[in-house]
């Protein structure tokens, strides 16, 4: 039976190659798609967590309720003591305070509402890798009236390295306050929502500007295993509750943003897309298999007349599909892994596309990098084999149901 199947494959090489090719292409696309979307998803996660939340975020409970308004008065006093409570948890690797505030940035008659973020420069390098994202100049230094701004923001307002901007805003207690900040560096996260609307200044200067001495508006906590964030958030909350009853709220990244919900939806959509591609490919397989069965109607009739059983006929055809499927899927997987490996190391630059689209309030990198993993390749291969086998079932059934007399009559 195996021999017959093998012979069938080689007898009509063009047909076999065509079927195999469609399977291979489908598997390749599937592998590549999966790698590509995992890459986007991982980037999304990474950026979202690093820039917006940390693994666990500690907030004043009143801040949490009105977070959209950035209520500076609902802050964390003596934040280092609060950080200490959180850092006592053995899973915690890093804690860092931040202040986020709104300000209208003005330069030469142009103005833009932006977010100022007070950061600790040394730890920020470990958090959002700010030091690696500088395209011009250097990272801000603590104690200096300096700022780092996003590349898109600098372009929008016509600002360049060395310019000094006067920041006028309100303190946490509502009075007018101002500070001159010199642009010492321009960064490019490749994240449009950040590059267009954010500037960084040293935390101590933000505290001075906003009258928030020893205070921050949020504490980011990083932990060893980010998947354990909800449990650790609860743990930290309980510890904080002992020291500061009803004062603070902790939020794990999983329950922090609506973005997480989008990600779940997006994951499902991508998974759907993936199966759609394989499904469409399986139609090609179905079609070619039907063709090959039809072409061989006479032959099948002959085999049946010679005493071959229905089951054996079906077996031959399925075996044929399985062999083509396996070889083709292997080839497809190799191609796919090649492409994803290339994308994982080089990436695709979408910067220009995003510029045209305007501000994307989604922390996606402008340069996509796929994720290369053998798991994805193996999964793609298995799917390819499975789908070719499944697609061969209807034509195989049809062939096995043929009456030998009827089949022999056809040309």
């Amino acid at each position: 039976m195996f021999k017959i199947a093998l012979r069938n494959i080689f007898r009509n090489k063009r047909r076999s190659v065509l079927t195999g090719l469609s399977i291979a292409v489908a598997v390749m696309i599937a592998v590549y798609l999966w790698a590509f979307f995992s890459g986007i998803m991982d980037d999304l996660f990474d950026n979202m967590i690093r820039l917006n939340n940390g693994h666990v975020r500690i907030l004043n409970s009143n801040y949490e309720k009105r977070e959209r308004m950035l209520p500076l008065e609902a802050n964390i006093p003596d934040y280092l003591a609060v950080e200490k409570v959180a850092a006592a948890d053995p899973n915690v690797t890093l804690t860092v305070g931040r202040i986020k505030f709104g300000v209208l940035l003005e330069h030469k008659g142009k103005n833009k509402p932006v977010f100022g973020t007070g950061i600790v420069p040394e730890t920020e390098s470990r958090i959002s890798r700010l030091d690696q994202k500088m395209v011009e100049g250097r990272i801000i230094r603590p104690g200096q009236e300096e700022m780092n701004i996003g590349v898109a923001l600098s372009r929008d307002l016509g600002l360049k390295l060395g310019d000094t901007l006067t920041i006028v805003t309100q303190t946490a207690y509502g009075s007018i306050t101002a500070m001159n900040l010199k642009i010492v560096g321009i960064f490019n996260y490749g994240v449009q929502s950040v590059d267009k609307t954010t500037f960084f200044l040293p935390l101590d200067k933000a505290q001075q500007l906003l009258d928030l001495d020893d205070r921050v508006t949020e504490i980011f906590v990083f932990i060893k295993d980010m998947n354990k964030a909800p449990a650790i958030a609860k743990n930290i909350q309980a510890k904080l509750e002992e020291v500061y009853p009803n004062k603070y709220t902790t939020k794990a990244w999983q329950d922090q943003q609506i973005l997480y919900f989008y990600m779940v939806v997006a994951r499902n959509v991508y998974a759907g897309l993936y199966f759609l591609v394989l499904f469409l490919a399986s139609f090609t397989i179905l079609n070619t298999m039907f063709m090959s069965v039809l072409e061989r109607t006479k032959e099948i009739g002959m085999m049946k007349a010679l005493g071959m059983k229905d089951r054996q006929v079906m077996g031959v055809i399925l075996l044929e599909a399985l062999m083509i499927g396996t070889i083709a899927s292997f080839i497809g997987a190799v191609w796919g892994s090649g492409i994803s490996y290339y994308l994982a190391t080089v990436g695709i630059d979408f910067t220009a596309t995003f510029e045209e689209m305007g501000t994307l309030n989604f922390p996606i990198n402008s340069v996509y990098r796929a994720i290369f993993s053998w798991g994805i390749v193996f999964f793609g291969f298995c799917m390819g084999v499975l789908f070719s086998l499944l697609a061969a079932i209807p034509p195989a059934l049809r062939a096995s149901k043929m009456e030998p007399t009827e089949a022999l009559r056809t040309i």
């Binding site: 006028v168 207690y173 009075s175 007018i176 306050t177 500070m179 009258d211």
Partner: protein, 256 residues
């Protein structure tokens, strides 16, 4: 004869009402509280939640619409200067060496983090230009004031006057003022929005005699929209009707 009696009665009624109309009360209050010129040193204590902030400033004023203030402490606010000329206000920020005109939405923001808004500080027109006054009752009220070292519960016999806005562009649609009958000091005032929501409450106390007038040296303002917040002001030194150089009230003086 009947006409004569009617006229006579009308005269009696109107004159007796006139003695204590809302308008009259507010007018007397205004003239008592306004000086030709004044030099005042104050200490402002701002309570927000569990925090207390103290600021000291000096101010010069001329009439009701010209004023200049300069903060002398704490370090963070030292050198911050305000200038008020009619309906305009400027703030000079020494940290950036810039003068900023306070306009538009900024007017409703808090001044130096206190419960007082720029608009409150700027109020220069006579109340009767913008509001219709109605005397609604007479009441004896007890309003505590702080002397800095202790609290005194002062009792006042007051006229209670309601002020309803005549013009559209006012922040406080409705005001209710308790004016002390003896001194014509507005010892308490409640400020309401158009919706009827009470926005702020201010009190004046520790009334002292300066020449022929009475002036409170303790003031509080409570912005009810801010959680657990209260601003107290102690006047530590006051001189009235003194000579002052005219160049104090210029924009150029801000940057000096």
């Amino acid at each position: 004869m009947r006409i004569f009696i009617t006229c006579f009665l009308a005269l009696i009624i109107s004159s007796s009402v006139q003695a204590v109309t809302g308008d009259e009360t507010i007018r007397k209050m205004d003239s008592n509280m306004t000086f030709d010129t004044a030099y005042i040193e104050s200490r402002m204590v701002i309570h927000v939640e569990d925090q207390i902030r103290e600021k000291r400033f000096i101010s010069y004023s001329k009439g009701r619409d010209t004023g200049y203030s300069e903060f002398i402490s704490p370090a963070r606010d030292k050198g911050v200067k305000y200038l008020k000329l009619k309906d305009n206000m400027w703030i000079y920020m020494p940290s950036v060496e810039k003068t900023i005109k306070i306009a538009g939405h900024m007017l409703r923001q808090s001044m130096m983090g206190s419960d007082i808004s720029y608009e409150d500080a700027m109020e220069s027109t006579k109340l009767l230009d913008k509001y219709t006054a109605t005397l609604i009752s007479e009441e004896t009220v007890t309003i505590p004031y702080s002397t800095g070292t202790g609290t005194v519960n002062a009792k006042y016999n007051c006229f209670v006057v309601d002020l309803m806005s005549k013009v559209k562009e006012v922040t406080y649609w409705h005001r209710r003022i308790w004016v002390d009958k003896a001194t014509y000091v507005p010892v308490k005032e409640e400020l309401f929005a158009k919706s009827g929501k009470k926005l702020k409450v201010q009190t004046l106390g520790n009334v002292q005699k300066f020449d022929d007038r009475y002036y409170p040296v303790y003031y509080t303002m409570k912005d009810l929209l801010r959680a657990n917040s209260l601003t107290e002001m102690f006047i530590t030194k006051a001189e009235f009707n003194i000579n002052m150089p005219s160049d104090i009230f210029t924009e150029r003086n801000l940057t000096k």
